[in-house]
Protein backbone atom coordinates (compact mmCIF):
# COMPACT_ATOMS: atom_id res chain seq x y z
CA UNK A 1 0.00 0.00 0.00
CA UNK A 2 1.23 3.42 -0.70
CA UNK A 3 0.18 6.98 -0.25
CA UNK A 4 0.07 8.60 -3.64
CA UNK A 5 2.40 5.91 -4.85
CA UNK A 6 5.02 6.75 -2.28
CA UNK A 7 7.23 3.97 -1.02
CA UNK A 8 6.29 2.42 2.30
CA UNK A 9 9.06 3.96 4.29
CA UNK A 10 7.69 7.36 3.43
CA UNK A 11 4.97 6.66 5.95
CA UNK A 12 7.55 7.57 8.53
CA UNK A 13 7.84 10.98 6.94
CA UNK A 14 6.81 12.94 10.03
CA UNK A 15 9.78 11.50 11.88
CA UNK A 16 12.06 11.70 8.88
CA UNK A 17 11.25 15.35 8.32
CA UNK A 18 12.24 16.08 11.87
CA UNK A 19 15.46 14.13 11.47
CA UNK A 20 16.22 16.05 8.31
CA UNK A 21 15.54 19.32 10.07
CA UNK A 22 17.98 18.42 12.81
CA UNK A 23 20.65 17.64 10.23
CA UNK A 24 19.96 20.88 8.39
CA UNK A 25 20.37 22.74 11.64
CA UNK A 26 23.68 21.03 12.23
CA UNK A 27 24.74 21.95 8.74
CA UNK A 28 23.75 25.56 9.29
CA UNK A 29 25.81 25.58 12.42
CA UNK A 30 28.69 23.95 10.58
CA UNK A 31 28.60 26.54 7.87
CA UNK A 32 28.47 29.39 10.29
CA UNK A 33 29.49 28.28 13.78
CA UNK A 34 28.03 29.98 16.83
CA UNK A 35 25.49 31.71 14.66
CA UNK A 36 23.10 33.92 16.52
CA UNK A 37 20.78 34.34 13.60
CA UNK A 38 17.78 33.50 15.69
CA UNK A 39 15.28 33.94 12.91
CA UNK A 40 17.01 31.48 10.64
CA UNK A 41 17.57 28.84 13.31
CA UNK A 42 14.25 29.09 15.02
CA UNK A 43 12.55 29.44 11.68
CA UNK A 44 14.11 26.25 10.39
CA UNK A 45 13.10 24.35 13.48
CA UNK A 46 9.58 25.71 13.37
CA UNK A 47 9.25 25.00 9.68
CA UNK A 48 10.47 21.47 10.22
CA UNK A 49 8.11 20.74 13.05
CA UNK A 50 5.19 22.34 11.27
CA UNK A 51 5.78 20.35 8.12
CA UNK A 52 6.04 17.24 10.22
CA UNK A 53 2.72 18.19 11.74
CA UNK A 54 1.20 18.89 8.37
CA UNK A 55 2.34 15.59 6.94
CA UNK A 56 1.09 13.70 9.98
CA UNK A 57 -2.28 15.37 9.75
CA UNK A 58 -2.41 14.77 6.03
CA UNK A 59 -1.63 11.09 6.51
CA UNK A 60 -4.27 10.83 9.17
CA UNK A 61 -6.86 12.47 6.99
CA UNK A 62 -5.81 10.50 3.96
CA UNK A 63 -6.36 7.34 5.92
CA UNK A 64 -2.85 6.05 6.31
CA UNK A 65 -2.85 3.41 8.97
CA UNK A 66 -6.61 3.25 9.10
CA UNK A 67 -8.19 0.05 8.03
CA UNK A 68 -11.16 0.08 5.76
CA UNK A 69 -11.89 0.04 2.10
CA UNK A 70 -10.76 3.47 1.05
CA UNK A 71 -7.83 3.60 3.41
CA UNK A 72 -4.27 2.51 3.09
CA UNK A 73 -4.17 0.11 5.97
CA UNK A 74 -1.53 -0.28 8.60
CA UNK A 75 1.89 0.13 7.07
CA UNK A 76 4.69 -2.15 8.17
CA UNK A 77 8.18 -0.90 7.62
CA UNK A 78 11.41 -2.86 7.74
CA UNK A 79 9.80 -6.17 8.44
CA UNK A 80 7.61 -4.88 11.22
CA UNK A 81 10.29 -2.94 13.04
CA UNK A 82 8.18 0.12 12.52
CA UNK A 83 4.49 0.30 12.05
CA UNK A 84 2.55 3.34 11.00
CA UNK A 85 -1.00 3.14 12.19
CA UNK A 86 -3.47 5.58 13.64
CA UNK A 87 -1.80 5.42 17.02
CA UNK A 88 1.56 6.35 15.57
CA UNK A 89 0.17 9.24 13.57
CA UNK A 90 -1.86 10.52 16.47
CA UNK A 91 1.17 10.77 18.67
CA UNK A 92 3.29 12.14 15.87
CA UNK A 93 0.80 14.97 15.71
CA UNK A 94 1.03 15.62 19.44
CA UNK A 95 4.79 15.65 19.32
CA UNK A 96 4.97 17.90 16.30
CA UNK A 97 2.56 20.33 17.89
CA UNK A 98 4.55 20.59 21.08
CA UNK A 99 7.79 20.89 19.18
CA UNK A 100 6.40 23.71 17.09
CA UNK A 101 5.18 25.58 20.14
CA UNK A 102 8.43 25.11 21.97
CA UNK A 103 10.59 26.18 19.08
CA UNK A 104 8.49 29.26 18.47
CA UNK A 105 8.74 30.22 22.10
CA UNK A 106 12.46 29.58 22.21
CA UNK A 107 12.98 32.33 19.71
CA UNK A 108 12.79 34.87 22.50
CA UNK A 109 13.82 32.69 25.37
CA UNK A 110 17.16 32.01 23.79
CA UNK A 111 18.06 35.61 23.23
CA UNK A 112 21.74 36.18 24.07
CA UNK A 113 22.25 32.48 24.42
CA UNK A 114 25.46 30.95 23.11
CA UNK A 115 24.33 27.61 21.80
CA UNK A 116 21.47 28.54 19.53
CA UNK A 117 21.88 26.05 16.74
CA UNK A 118 22.79 23.24 19.09
CA UNK A 119 19.72 23.95 21.13
CA UNK A 120 17.35 23.78 18.21
CA UNK A 121 18.92 20.77 16.66
CA UNK A 122 18.84 18.90 19.95
CA UNK A 123 15.18 19.77 20.39
CA UNK A 124 14.35 18.59 16.93
CA UNK A 125 16.49 15.52 17.37
CA UNK A 126 14.68 14.60 20.54
CA UNK A 127 11.42 15.18 18.73
CA UNK A 128 12.63 12.81 16.03
CA UNK A 129 13.19 10.17 18.65
CA UNK A 130 9.76 10.69 20.08
CA UNK A 131 8.17 10.56 16.67
CA UNK A 132 10.02 7.36 15.93
CA UNK A 133 8.93 5.97 19.24
CA UNK A 134 5.35 6.44 18.20
CA UNK A 135 5.90 4.18 15.25
CA UNK A 136 8.29 1.68 16.79
CA UNK A 137 7.02 -1.81 16.80
CA UNK A 138 9.95 -3.73 18.10
CA UNK A 139 11.84 -3.52 21.33
CA UNK A 140 14.98 -2.75 19.33
CA UNK A 141 13.59 0.28 17.61
CA UNK A 142 11.83 1.30 20.77
CA UNK A 143 15.06 1.32 22.69
CA UNK A 144 16.87 3.23 19.99
CA UNK A 145 14.09 5.78 19.80
CA UNK A 146 14.03 5.99 23.56
CA UNK A 147 17.70 6.83 23.70
CA UNK A 148 17.44 9.17 20.76
CA UNK A 149 14.90 11.02 22.82
CA UNK A 150 16.72 10.84 26.10
CA UNK A 151 20.24 11.77 25.09
CA UNK A 152 19.42 15.16 23.58
CA UNK A 153 17.07 15.78 26.47
CA UNK A 154 19.85 15.32 29.00
CA UNK A 155 21.94 17.84 27.15
CA UNK A 156 19.04 20.23 26.76
CA UNK A 157 18.24 20.24 30.44
CA UNK A 158 21.82 21.12 31.24
CA UNK A 159 22.28 23.53 28.36
CA UNK A 160 22.51 26.60 30.59
CA UNK A 161 25.93 25.46 31.56
CA UNK A 162 26.73 28.36 33.82
CA UNK A 163 23.49 28.01 35.70
CA UNK A 164 23.89 25.74 38.67
CA UNK A 165 20.25 24.77 38.72
CA UNK A 166 20.32 23.75 35.10
CA UNK A 167 23.45 21.67 35.53
CA UNK A 168 22.16 20.01 38.64
CA UNK A 169 18.90 19.26 36.90
CA UNK A 170 20.76 17.84 33.95
CA UNK A 171 22.86 15.63 36.18
CA UNK A 172 19.91 14.25 38.06
CA UNK A 173 17.92 13.72 34.91
CA UNK A 174 20.85 11.99 33.34
CA UNK A 175 21.65 9.75 36.28
CA UNK A 176 18.12 8.53 36.72
CA UNK A 177 17.68 8.31 32.98
CA UNK A 178 20.77 6.20 32.58
CA UNK A 179 19.69 3.95 35.41
CA UNK A 180 16.23 3.51 34.03
CA UNK A 181 17.44 2.80 30.55
CA UNK A 182 19.77 0.17 31.96
CA UNK A 183 16.82 -1.38 33.73
CA UNK A 184 14.76 -1.13 30.57
CA UNK A 185 17.38 -2.90 28.52
CA UNK A 186 17.68 -5.61 31.09
CA UNK A 187 13.95 -6.00 30.96
CA UNK A 188 14.15 -6.25 27.19
CA UNK A 189 16.81 -8.90 27.47
CA UNK A 190 14.66 -10.94 29.81
CA UNK A 191 11.62 -10.66 27.58
CA UNK A 192 13.80 -11.71 24.68
CA UNK A 193 15.06 -14.59 26.72
CA UNK A 194 11.58 -15.79 27.48
CA UNK A 195 10.14 -15.35 24.02
CA UNK A 196 13.06 -15.38 21.62
CA UNK A 197 11.88 -12.33 19.77
CA UNK A 198 11.98 -8.59 20.08
CA UNK A 199 9.28 -7.75 17.61
CA UNK A 200 6.14 -6.93 19.49
CA UNK A 201 3.68 -8.88 17.42
CA UNK A 202 5.95 -11.91 17.42
CA UNK A 203 6.31 -11.73 21.17
CA UNK A 204 2.56 -11.75 21.39
CA UNK A 205 2.36 -14.68 19.02
CA UNK A 206 4.81 -16.66 21.11
CA UNK A 207 2.96 -15.83 24.30
CA UNK A 208 -0.35 -16.78 22.83
CA UNK A 209 0.95 -20.02 21.44
CA UNK A 210 1.62 -20.97 25.04
CA UNK A 211 4.84 -22.64 24.03
CA UNK A 212 6.23 -24.91 26.71
CA UNK A 213 9.50 -23.04 26.93
CA UNK A 214 7.75 -19.74 27.44
CA UNK A 215 5.56 -21.12 30.14
CA UNK A 216 8.62 -22.28 32.04
CA UNK A 217 10.15 -18.84 31.88
CA UNK A 218 7.16 -17.08 33.35
CA UNK A 219 9.26 -15.68 36.14
CA UNK A 220 11.78 -14.17 33.78
CA UNK A 221 9.03 -12.75 31.65
CA UNK A 222 7.31 -11.24 34.66
CA UNK A 223 10.52 -9.67 35.86
CA UNK A 224 11.18 -8.40 32.36
CA UNK A 225 7.76 -6.82 32.13
CA UNK A 226 8.24 -5.23 35.51
CA UNK A 227 11.51 -3.73 34.32
CA UNK A 228 9.90 -2.48 31.14
CA UNK A 229 7.33 -0.74 33.29
CA UNK A 230 10.23 0.85 35.13
CA UNK A 231 11.68 2.23 31.92
CA UNK A 232 8.31 3.54 30.86
CA UNK A 233 7.73 5.08 34.25
CA UNK A 234 10.87 7.10 33.79
CA UNK A 235 9.83 8.46 30.42
CA UNK A 236 6.37 9.32 31.64
CA UNK A 237 7.59 10.71 34.97
CA UNK A 238 5.49 8.24 36.91
CA UNK A 239 6.22 6.61 40.21
CA UNK A 240 8.67 5.00 40.92
CA UNK A 241 10.96 6.85 38.51
CA UNK A 242 9.50 10.28 38.97
CA UNK A 243 12.21 11.81 41.18
CA UNK A 244 13.91 13.45 38.30
CA UNK A 245 10.88 15.32 37.10
CA UNK A 246 10.62 18.14 39.64
CA UNK A 247 14.32 18.80 39.60
CA UNK A 248 14.71 18.56 35.86
CA UNK A 249 11.69 20.68 35.09
CA UNK A 250 12.65 23.27 37.62
CA UNK A 251 16.26 23.54 36.58
CA UNK A 252 15.83 23.25 32.84
CA UNK A 253 15.12 26.23 30.62
CA UNK A 254 11.35 26.65 30.66
CA UNK A 255 10.72 25.73 27.00
CA UNK A 256 12.62 22.53 27.62
CA UNK A 257 10.53 21.82 30.67
CA UNK A 258 7.50 22.31 28.47
CA UNK A 259 8.96 20.03 25.86
CA UNK A 260 9.85 17.28 28.29
CA UNK A 261 6.70 17.41 30.30
CA UNK A 262 4.45 17.33 27.25
CA UNK A 263 6.07 15.69 24.29
CA UNK A 264 8.44 13.39 26.11
CA UNK A 265 5.65 12.22 28.32
CA UNK A 266 3.40 11.59 25.35
CA UNK A 267 6.16 9.58 23.75
CA UNK A 268 6.57 7.54 26.89
CA UNK A 269 2.90 6.81 26.90
CA UNK A 270 2.68 5.78 23.30
CA UNK A 271 5.43 3.35 24.14
CA UNK A 272 3.48 2.02 27.07
CA UNK A 273 0.30 1.77 25.07
CA UNK A 274 1.87 -0.03 22.21
CA UNK A 275 4.14 -2.38 24.07
CA UNK A 276 1.59 -3.54 26.54
CA UNK A 277 -1.31 -3.89 24.21
CA UNK A 278 0.60 -5.39 21.31
CA UNK A 279 3.26 -7.49 22.90
CA UNK A 280 1.65 -8.72 26.07
CA UNK A 281 -1.92 -9.79 25.39
CA UNK A 282 -3.57 -9.70 28.74
CA UNK A 283 -4.97 -13.17 29.01
CA UNK A 284 -2.02 -15.05 27.61
CA UNK A 285 0.43 -13.03 29.67
CA UNK A 286 -1.56 -13.43 32.82
CA UNK A 287 -1.64 -17.13 32.19
CA UNK A 288 2.13 -17.27 31.96
CA UNK A 289 3.32 -14.87 34.61
CA UNK A 290 0.41 -15.34 36.94
CA UNK A 291 -0.26 -11.68 37.51
CA UNK A 292 -2.48 -9.30 35.64
CA UNK A 293 -0.22 -6.45 34.55
CA UNK A 294 -3.03 -3.95 34.55
CA UNK A 295 -2.92 -4.24 38.31
CA UNK A 296 0.57 -2.79 38.32
CA UNK A 297 -0.61 0.13 36.26
CA UNK A 298 -3.63 0.66 38.46
CA UNK A 299 -1.43 0.91 41.53
CA UNK A 300 1.04 3.13 39.72
CA UNK A 301 -1.74 5.35 38.49
CA UNK A 302 -3.20 5.91 41.93
CA UNK A 303 0.13 6.43 43.62
CA UNK A 304 1.37 8.69 40.86
CA UNK A 305 -1.60 10.98 40.70
CA UNK A 306 -1.92 11.22 44.45
CA UNK A 307 1.73 11.87 45.03
CA UNK A 308 1.95 14.35 42.20
CA UNK A 309 -1.04 16.32 43.34
CA UNK A 310 -0.21 16.37 47.02
CA UNK A 311 3.34 17.41 46.34
CA UNK A 312 2.17 20.08 43.92
CA UNK A 313 -0.17 21.49 46.51
CA UNK A 314 2.72 22.20 48.86
CA UNK A 315 4.99 24.00 46.40
CA UNK A 316 5.95 27.62 46.59
CA UNK A 317 7.82 27.62 43.31
CA UNK A 318 5.58 27.82 40.28
CA UNK A 319 7.71 25.74 37.98
CA UNK A 320 8.02 23.05 40.57
CA UNK A 321 4.30 23.09 41.14
CA UNK A 322 3.81 22.54 37.43
CA UNK A 323 6.37 19.78 37.53
CA UNK A 324 4.52 17.91 40.23
CA UNK A 325 1.23 18.55 38.55
CA UNK A 326 2.74 16.99 35.48
CA UNK A 327 3.44 13.89 37.54
CA UNK A 328 -0.16 13.95 38.62
CA UNK A 329 -1.32 14.06 35.03
CA UNK A 330 0.86 11.10 34.21
CA UNK A 331 -1.18 9.29 36.82
CA UNK A 332 -4.39 10.19 35.05
CA UNK A 333 -3.13 8.90 31.75
CA UNK A 334 -1.89 5.67 33.33
CA UNK A 335 -5.51 4.90 34.00
CA UNK A 336 -5.76 4.25 30.29
CA UNK A 337 -3.63 1.15 30.75
CA UNK A 338 -5.05 0.17 34.08
CA UNK A 339 -8.57 -0.10 32.75
CA UNK A 340 -7.67 -2.49 29.96
CA UNK A 341 -8.74 -5.42 32.03
CA UNK A 342 -12.38 -4.45 31.68
CA UNK A 343 -14.75 -4.21 28.77
CA UNK A 344 -14.62 -0.72 27.38
CA UNK A 345 -10.97 -0.41 28.33
CA UNK A 346 -10.14 0.69 24.83
CA UNK A 347 -12.40 3.67 25.29
CA UNK A 348 -10.65 4.58 28.50
CA UNK A 349 -7.37 4.35 26.67
CA UNK A 350 -8.73 6.54 23.92
CA UNK A 351 -9.78 9.07 26.52
CA UNK A 352 -6.30 8.95 28.03
CA UNK A 353 -4.86 9.68 24.61
CA UNK A 354 -7.19 12.63 24.19
CA UNK A 355 -5.97 13.88 27.49
CA UNK A 356 -2.42 13.68 26.22
CA UNK A 357 -3.25 15.79 23.19
CA UNK A 358 -5.03 18.41 25.23
CA UNK A 359 -2.27 18.23 27.75
CA UNK A 360 0.17 18.89 24.94
CA UNK A 361 -1.38 22.30 24.50
CA UNK A 362 -2.24 23.36 28.01
CA UNK A 363 0.83 22.09 29.78
CA UNK A 364 3.18 23.37 27.13
CA UNK A 365 1.46 26.70 27.35
CA UNK A 366 1.75 26.78 31.12
CA UNK A 367 5.46 26.07 31.07
CA UNK A 368 5.95 28.60 28.32
CA UNK A 369 4.25 31.15 30.50
CA UNK A 370 6.80 30.34 33.17
CA UNK A 371 9.36 30.86 30.43
CA UNK A 372 7.85 34.25 29.78
CA UNK A 373 8.08 35.06 33.46
CA UNK A 374 11.71 34.03 33.40
CA UNK A 375 12.17 36.24 30.38
CA UNK A 376 10.67 39.11 32.36
CA UNK A 377 12.83 38.09 35.27
CA UNK A 378 10.05 38.40 37.81
CA UNK A 379 11.12 35.55 40.05
CA UNK A 380 9.99 32.02 40.59
CA UNK A 381 7.56 31.79 43.47
CA UNK A 382 3.85 32.39 43.64
CA UNK A 383 4.45 35.69 45.39
CA UNK A 384 6.69 36.86 42.59
CA UNK A 385 3.87 36.29 40.15
CA UNK A 386 1.47 38.44 42.12
CA UNK A 387 -0.45 40.92 40.08
CA UNK A 388 1.22 40.19 36.77
CA UNK A 389 -2.19 40.44 35.14
CA UNK A 390 -2.20 44.18 35.50
CA UNK A 391 0.83 44.46 33.29
CA UNK A 392 0.24 41.60 30.91
CA UNK A 393 -3.42 40.72 30.80
CA UNK A 394 -3.28 38.62 27.69
CA UNK A 395 -0.52 36.30 28.74
CA UNK A 396 -2.08 36.03 32.17
CA UNK A 397 -5.46 35.37 30.67
CA UNK A 398 -3.90 32.57 28.67
CA UNK A 399 -2.28 31.26 31.81
CA UNK A 400 -5.62 31.28 33.60
CA UNK A 401 -7.02 29.27 30.73
CA UNK A 402 -4.19 26.75 31.07
CA UNK A 403 -4.61 26.48 34.80
CA UNK A 404 -8.34 25.96 34.71
CA UNK A 405 -7.97 23.60 31.85
CA UNK A 406 -5.34 21.59 33.71
CA UNK A 407 -7.66 21.49 36.67
CA UNK A 408 -10.36 20.16 34.41
CA UNK A 409 -12.77 23.02 34.82
CA UNK A 410 -15.13 23.73 31.93
CA UNK A 411 -15.30 25.33 29.47
CA UNK A 412 -11.76 24.38 28.53
CA UNK A 413 -10.69 21.30 26.74
CA UNK A 414 -8.94 19.88 29.78
CA UNK A 415 -12.39 19.28 31.08
CA UNK A 416 -13.34 17.37 27.97
CA UNK A 417 -10.60 14.87 28.25
CA UNK A 418 -10.94 14.38 31.97
CA UNK A 419 -14.67 14.11 31.55
CA UNK A 420 -14.36 11.42 28.94
CA UNK A 421 -11.72 9.65 30.95
CA UNK A 422 -14.01 9.66 33.92
CA UNK A 423 -17.18 8.64 32.15
CA UNK A 424 -15.49 5.88 30.25
CA UNK A 425 -13.87 4.70 33.41
CA UNK A 426 -17.23 4.52 35.12
CA UNK A 427 -18.54 2.72 32.09
CA UNK A 428 -15.73 0.20 32.30
CA UNK A 429 -16.21 -0.04 36.03
CA UNK A 430 -19.59 -1.56 35.39
CA UNK A 431 -17.61 -4.54 34.23
CA UNK A 432 -14.92 -4.47 36.86
CA UNK A 433 -15.97 -2.74 40.02
CA UNK A 434 -12.38 -2.39 41.24
CA UNK A 435 -11.98 0.40 38.74
CA UNK A 436 -14.25 2.52 40.87
CA UNK A 437 -11.27 3.08 43.12
CA UNK A 438 -9.47 4.61 40.18
CA UNK A 439 -12.45 6.76 39.37
CA UNK A 440 -12.64 7.95 42.93
CA UNK A 441 -8.92 8.74 42.94
CA UNK A 442 -9.33 10.66 39.71
CA UNK A 443 -12.15 12.78 41.09
CA UNK A 444 -10.49 13.45 44.43
CA UNK A 445 -7.24 14.37 42.80
CA UNK A 446 -8.93 16.64 40.30
CA UNK A 447 -10.64 18.42 43.13
CA UNK A 448 -7.39 18.79 44.97
CA UNK A 449 -5.59 20.02 41.88
CA UNK A 450 -8.05 22.83 41.58
CA UNK A 451 -6.63 24.21 44.78
CA UNK A 452 -3.13 24.81 43.57
CA UNK A 453 -4.03 25.72 40.05
CA UNK A 454 -6.46 28.36 41.20
CA UNK A 455 -3.86 29.55 43.62
CA UNK A 456 -1.71 30.56 40.70
CA UNK A 457 -4.61 32.26 38.98
CA UNK A 458 -5.26 34.06 42.21
CA UNK A 459 -1.67 35.22 42.38
CA UNK A 460 -1.74 36.46 38.82
CA UNK A 461 -5.08 38.15 38.79
CA UNK A 462 -6.14 38.94 42.32
CA UNK A 463 -3.12 39.53 44.50
CA UNK A 464 -1.43 42.89 44.64
CA UNK A 465 2.05 42.99 43.19
CA UNK A 466 4.85 42.99 45.73
CA UNK A 467 6.62 45.79 43.96
CA UNK A 468 5.80 48.20 41.23
CA UNK A 469 6.76 46.96 37.86
CA UNK A 470 7.58 48.78 34.72
CA UNK A 471 5.84 47.81 31.57
CA UNK A 472 6.64 44.24 30.74
CA UNK A 473 8.09 43.41 27.38
CA UNK A 474 6.01 41.49 24.92
CA UNK A 475 8.35 39.07 23.17
CA UNK A 476 6.73 38.01 19.92
CA UNK A 477 7.68 34.36 19.87
CA UNK A 478 6.74 33.56 23.43
CA UNK A 479 3.51 35.47 23.15
CA UNK A 480 2.60 33.83 19.89
CA UNK A 481 3.23 30.37 21.29
CA UNK A 482 1.33 31.03 24.49
CA UNK A 483 -1.66 32.61 22.80
CA UNK A 484 -1.74 29.86 20.20
CA UNK A 485 -1.72 27.24 22.93
CA UNK A 486 -4.48 29.05 24.80
CA UNK A 487 -6.62 29.40 21.71
CA UNK A 488 -6.18 25.73 20.96
CA UNK A 489 -7.03 24.84 24.53
CA UNK A 490 -10.34 26.61 24.11
CA UNK A 491 -11.04 25.70 20.51
CA UNK A 492 -10.48 22.02 21.14
CA UNK A 493 -13.65 22.02 23.20
CA UNK A 494 -16.09 22.57 20.35
CA UNK A 495 -13.76 20.77 17.96
CA UNK A 496 -13.40 17.73 20.08
CA UNK A 497 -15.29 15.47 17.73
CA UNK A 498 -12.46 14.80 15.29
CA UNK A 499 -9.92 14.60 18.09
CA UNK A 500 -11.97 12.05 19.91
CA UNK A 501 -12.47 10.06 16.75
CA UNK A 502 -8.75 10.10 16.03
CA UNK A 503 -7.90 9.08 19.58
CA UNK A 504 -10.44 6.31 19.67
CA UNK A 505 -9.23 4.99 16.36
CA UNK A 506 -5.70 5.20 17.65
CA UNK A 507 -6.68 3.19 20.68
CA UNK A 508 -8.59 0.77 18.54
CA UNK A 509 -5.46 0.30 16.44
CA UNK A 510 -3.71 -1.48 19.26
CA UNK A 511 -6.52 -2.82 21.38
CA UNK A 512 -8.34 -5.51 19.55
Amino acid sequence: MAVLELPDWMALAPALILAGTALVLFLIDSIEPHSTNRTLLSGTAVAGSLSSLAVAVWFTVAGVGATGIENYGVIDIMDGQFVVDQLALYFMIIIAVVTALVTVASYDYLQDHTYQAEYYSLVVLAATGMSMMAASNSLVTIFIALELTSLPSYALVAILKDNRGSVEAGLKYFLIGALSSAIFVYGVSLVYGATGSLQLTRIAAVLESGDGAVAEMGGLLGLGILMLIGGIAFKTASVPFHFWAPEAYEGAPAPISAFLSSASKAAGFVLAFRVFTTAFPLEATTGIIGIDWTLAFAILAIVTMTLGNFAAATQENVKRMLAYSSIGHAGYVLIGLAALSADGGDLVMGAAMMHLLVYGFMNTGAFLFVGLAEYWDVGRTFEDYNGLAERAPFACGAMAVFMFSLAGVPPFSGFWSKYLLYTELINAAADNTALLVLAAALVINSALSLYYYSRLVKALWIEEPLLDRDRLAQPTGLYAAIIAAAVMTIVLLPAFGPVADAALEAAAAVVA
Binding site: L23, F26, L27, D29, S30, I31, P33, H34
Partner: protein, 134 residues
Protein backbone atom coordinates in the same frame (compact mmCIF):
# COMPACT_ATOMS: atom_id res chain seq x y z
CA UNK B 1 39.24 -26.86 20.15
CA UNK B 2 37.47 -23.60 20.50
CA UNK B 3 39.24 -20.54 19.16
CA UNK B 4 38.54 -18.61 22.25
CA UNK B 5 40.14 -21.15 24.52
CA UNK B 6 43.31 -20.76 22.49
CA UNK B 7 43.08 -17.02 22.85
CA UNK B 8 42.51 -17.45 26.57
CA UNK B 9 45.59 -19.62 26.73
CA UNK B 10 47.60 -16.93 25.02
CA UNK B 11 46.22 -14.41 27.46
CA UNK B 12 47.45 -16.64 30.25
CA UNK B 13 50.84 -16.80 28.64
CA UNK B 14 50.79 -13.09 28.04
CA UNK B 15 50.26 -12.47 31.73
CA UNK B 16 52.60 -15.16 32.97
CA UNK B 17 55.58 -13.91 31.00
CA UNK B 18 55.52 -10.40 32.53
CA UNK B 19 55.01 -11.92 35.94
CA UNK B 20 57.90 -14.23 35.37
CA UNK B 21 60.08 -11.34 34.42
CA UNK B 22 58.99 -9.44 37.48
CA UNK B 23 59.79 -12.42 39.64
CA UNK B 24 63.26 -12.69 38.15
CA UNK B 25 63.81 -9.01 38.60
CA UNK B 26 62.61 -9.20 42.17
CA UNK B 27 65.29 -11.76 42.90
CA UNK B 28 68.01 -9.86 41.13
CA UNK B 29 67.51 -6.23 41.93
CA UNK B 30 68.87 -4.39 44.94
CA UNK B 31 66.80 -2.17 47.23
CA UNK B 32 68.44 0.96 48.50
CA UNK B 33 65.75 3.17 50.03
CA UNK B 34 66.49 6.83 49.97
CA UNK B 35 63.86 9.55 50.20
CA UNK B 36 65.04 11.99 47.62
CA UNK B 37 65.30 9.21 45.12
CA UNK B 38 61.56 8.85 45.09
CA UNK B 39 60.90 12.47 44.33
CA UNK B 40 58.94 13.17 41.16
CA UNK B 41 61.20 13.75 38.20
CA UNK B 42 61.03 17.28 36.96
CA UNK B 43 64.23 17.52 34.98
CA UNK B 44 66.31 17.97 38.06
CA UNK B 45 64.35 20.79 39.58
CA UNK B 46 62.62 20.48 42.92
CA UNK B 47 59.05 19.30 42.14
CA UNK B 48 56.43 22.00 42.46
CA UNK B 49 52.72 21.53 42.86
CA UNK B 50 50.70 18.39 42.37
CA UNK B 51 49.95 16.46 39.27
CA UNK B 52 46.30 17.43 39.26
CA UNK B 53 47.05 20.08 36.72
CA UNK B 54 44.54 21.61 34.37
CA UNK B 55 45.15 20.47 30.89
CA UNK B 56 43.69 21.38 27.55
CA UNK B 57 39.93 20.92 27.37
CA UNK B 58 40.40 19.56 23.87
CA UNK B 59 41.48 16.25 25.34
CA UNK B 60 37.95 15.82 26.60
CA UNK B 61 36.45 16.99 23.38
CA UNK B 62 38.25 14.50 21.21
CA UNK B 63 37.60 11.78 23.76
CA UNK B 64 33.87 12.40 23.62
CA UNK B 65 34.01 12.59 19.86
CA UNK B 66 35.88 9.32 19.74
CA UNK B 67 33.37 7.52 21.89
CA UNK B 68 30.71 8.31 19.37
CA UNK B 69 32.68 7.68 16.20
CA UNK B 70 34.33 4.53 17.35
CA UNK B 71 31.13 2.80 18.19
CA UNK B 72 29.63 3.81 14.88
CA UNK B 73 32.45 2.02 13.09
CA UNK B 74 31.43 -1.11 14.91
CA UNK B 75 27.99 -0.75 13.41
CA UNK B 76 29.57 -0.58 9.95
CA UNK B 77 31.37 -3.92 10.26
CA UNK B 78 28.27 -6.09 9.79
CA UNK B 79 27.44 -4.10 6.71
CA UNK B 80 30.94 -4.46 5.30
CA UNK B 81 30.84 -8.21 5.81
CA UNK B 82 27.45 -8.61 4.23
CA UNK B 83 27.98 -6.21 1.36
CA UNK B 84 29.45 -8.63 -1.15
CA UNK B 85 26.89 -11.25 -0.31
CA UNK B 86 24.15 -8.73 -0.78
CA UNK B 87 25.48 -7.77 -4.17
CA UNK B 88 25.83 -11.38 -5.11
CA UNK B 89 22.23 -11.95 -4.11
CA UNK B 90 21.22 -9.29 -6.64
CA UNK B 91 19.99 -6.84 -4.10
CA UNK B 92 19.85 -3.48 -5.86
CA UNK B 93 22.75 -1.18 -5.19
CA UNK B 94 20.49 1.46 -3.68
CA UNK B 95 19.41 -0.88 -0.97
CA UNK B 96 22.84 -2.38 -0.38
CA UNK B 97 24.83 0.82 -0.46
CA UNK B 98 22.27 3.53 0.22
CA UNK B 99 21.77 3.01 3.96
CA UNK B 100 25.51 2.93 4.54
CA UNK B 101 25.96 6.12 2.57
CA UNK B 102 23.23 7.73 4.61
CA UNK B 103 24.83 6.52 7.79
CA UNK B 104 28.21 7.84 6.81
CA UNK B 105 26.66 11.07 5.62
CA UNK B 106 25.10 11.62 9.03
CA UNK B 107 28.42 10.85 10.67
CA UNK B 108 30.10 13.30 8.36
CA UNK B 109 27.57 15.99 9.21
CA UNK B 110 28.52 15.38 12.81
CA UNK B 111 32.20 15.57 11.94
CA UNK B 112 31.70 18.74 9.95
CA UNK B 113 29.87 20.26 12.84
CA UNK B 114 32.59 19.27 15.29
CA UNK B 115 35.18 20.58 12.91
CA UNK B 116 33.50 23.91 12.40
CA UNK B 117 32.73 24.47 16.04
CA UNK B 118 36.34 23.82 16.87
CA UNK B 119 35.96 20.59 18.78
CA UNK B 120 38.98 19.06 17.09
CA UNK B 121 41.05 22.17 16.91
CA UNK B 122 43.89 22.09 19.38
CA UNK B 123 44.95 25.69 19.42
CA UNK B 124 43.42 28.88 18.13
CA UNK B 125 45.06 30.90 15.46
CA UNK B 126 45.71 34.55 16.18
CA UNK B 127 43.04 35.51 13.71
CA UNK B 128 40.47 33.38 15.47
CA UNK B 129 41.42 34.84 18.78
CA UNK B 130 40.94 38.24 17.25
CA UNK B 131 37.44 37.52 15.99
CA UNK B 132 36.39 35.79 19.20
CA UNK B 133 37.26 38.72 21.34
CA UNK B 134 34.13 40.72 21.92
Amino acid sequence: MNDWIAIGALALVGVLIPFGMMAVSYLLRPTVPETSKRATYESGEIPTGGTRIRFNIQYYMVALLFVVFDIETVLLFPWAVAYQDALAADIPLVRALGPMLLFVAILLVGLAWAWRTGAVQWARTPRQLETDRP
